[in-house]
Amino acid sequence: MRYRTGRLLLGVTAICTFAPTPGLGQTGAPSAYEPPRTSDGHPNLEGIWQALNTAAWDLEDHSASLGVPAGLSVVEGGAIPYQDWALEKKQANFEHRTTLDPEAQCYLPGVPRITYMPYPFQIIQQADKISIAYEYLRTVRFIHMNGVPHPPGPIDWWMGDSRGHWEGDTLVVDVVHFNDQTWLDRAGNFHSAALHVVERYTPTGPDHLLYEVTIEDPEVFTRPWTMSMPLYRHQEAHSELLEYQCSSYLLEQEWDNPASTLFEGH
């Protein structure tokens, strides 16, 4: 397996270094804003939303390069708290990112990465579930709100298993059952199948959500860490989700390319 060495090291490291999680994600975002509500009294988050930052390229502080806008870290404290081996792995990922990034294979990008990729998504709220329709790959994600717990694992899903509940006006989504194939951005930031994500969506105005994410993965990080960013409501009068059918464009481009590596390794 890809992370065998790390896993062996880790059991010990995790136990020794795991600490309770303070931070952004736990405090919520007390706000005077009174959001519109659905018939069951919860904030109505429906609409088309999109992140407007450079997290898709790199979650941490980074300079500009060809095709990559510079940006500030969205990570609380600035840097992701990798274990030593994992930092080396991340750096190797970065060096080989054009070939190793699963986004380059058009695979499902995982959570939270899909949220801050440069494509809009639409939230559709029902009593027993909240669905998120993403323009990227026309992905549909179901956040079950009916109190049924995560199914027993292990299950290796690209997008994980999402179970949500409300804490005040914040939608809190607990996501587990990931595989170890997705990255967190195009800079090689990564996780293992032990990833546990907690997302918090809090309306802070009619056209803004505060999106806070706690990332927990004792196999890769020294402690849980958080990122946060605003999400913006599309303002165009006729905004609608279109499509980005990544895999079809990739196959169309690579099918007749004699140098393609897309069909190797199977």
Partner: protein, 328 residues
């Protein structure tokens, strides 16, 4: 009984049996028996709906029929076969035609269109009678692509909002505006096209334009072009059944508009067609499913799991279908 086949299977059935035998069982997989009864489709449904009494559907707060809920489909599994046929092989049971008009149940191709259709059919490489030795194309569905009308042939959930009808499938979604907004310039093309909906009486009518012409109607190479327009009609005929019709227009390859029709039923409320409900728990590594999850839609990740199938089709010499160019 038959069960739905994962979308990745069409790729597998095209390659040697040894591969299939060694690939192990897949949850939910099943094959059709030769003596399975012919699957009813448009002719049976047209006769049945002609006898139905008028129905006054329940309505949403804004007064339009309430189509919300989960609805079965009639295909969309990547192995579908549009026209009437007897048992071909374990992937392709006997089934009536999807086509309700023209009455002969066949796609009314122009002579050029029919020649192209037969060329594609002969090059499918499925081991069917009449095939040429040359492999040509496999269905875009064999590469886990989603498009119209494959999405509409599949099971889906309908959710309504003022100004929009939302359809969620197992791997895809449509948000259909019903607010009379403008469409796109013809030059913008999409696998799903651009959908614009409206209510005509109690029927939801959806016009689909801006198609990229790369999708197929079924797995046997029934094609359309980037000139094709589709008009769908969704109408509740009783509490548990939607009459679904889709009319296809494209004078560059068809001699006349033509229509397909089948019933969409709420899960568990009528005879299954090819596929009756959204899948759950098809992930190969998933544990046995327990009751609380029975009605959840679980991740399929067709493309992500189909690397071997893609590589096999590529190695076998299939071409990538880039659409057809009808004569001027």
């Amino acid at each position: 009984m038959s069960y739905r086949l994962p979308a990745a299977v069409p790729a597998l059935v095209l390659i040697p049996c040894a591969f299939l035998l060694t690939s192990g069982p897949v949850v939910g997989q099943g094959f059709w028996r030769e003596d399975a009864p012919k699957i009813p489709m448009a002719p049976t449904w047209v006769a049945e709906k002609a006898e139905l009494p008028p129905y006054d559907p329940p309505r949403t707060p804004d007064g339009v029929p309430d189509l919300q809920g989960f609805w079965g489909g009639a295909g969309g599994d990547g192995l579908s076969y549009l026209e009437d046929h007897e048992f071909v092989d374990v992937t392709t049971p006997a089934q009536e035609t999807f086509i309700s008009d023209p009455p002969d149940g066949k796609v009314p191709y122009t002579p050029w269109g029919l020649a192209k259709r037969n060329e594609i059919l002969a090059g499918l490489g499925r081991g069917w009678p009449g095939e040429s030795p040359e492999r040509l194309y496999s269905s875009p569905a064999a590469y886990c692509q989603y498009f119209m009308p494959r999405f509409s042939f599949s099971a889906l959930e309908i959710i309504q909002r003022p100004g929009a009808v939302i359809m969620l499938g197992d791997e895809g979604h449509r948000v259909i505006p019903t607010d009379e907004r403008p469409s796109f310039d013809d030059s913008a093309k999409f696998w799903f096209g651009v959908s614009r909906g409206r209510w005509e009486g109690d029927t939801l009518v959806v016009e689909v334009r801006n198609l990229n012409g790369l999708g197929w109607f079924d797995s046997t190479g029934q094609f359309y072009t980037e000139n094709t327009r589709m008009t769908e009609r969704f109408r509740l005929v009783d509490a548990d059944t939607i009459d679904y019709e889709i009319t296809i227009e494209d004078p560059t390859v068809y001699t006349r508009p033509w229509t397909m029709s089948f019933p969409r039923r709420r899960p568990g409320t009528g005879p299954n067609l090819r596929r009756s409900r959204l899948p759950s728990a098809v992930a190969i590594n998933a544990p046995p499913v327990e009751d609380p999850y029975e009605n959840e839609v679980w991740e399929e990740a067709c493309y992500e799991g189909n690397g071997e199938g893609r590589a096999a089709l590529h190695a076998l010499g299939y071409e990538w279908f880039r659409g057809v160019t009808p004569p001027e």
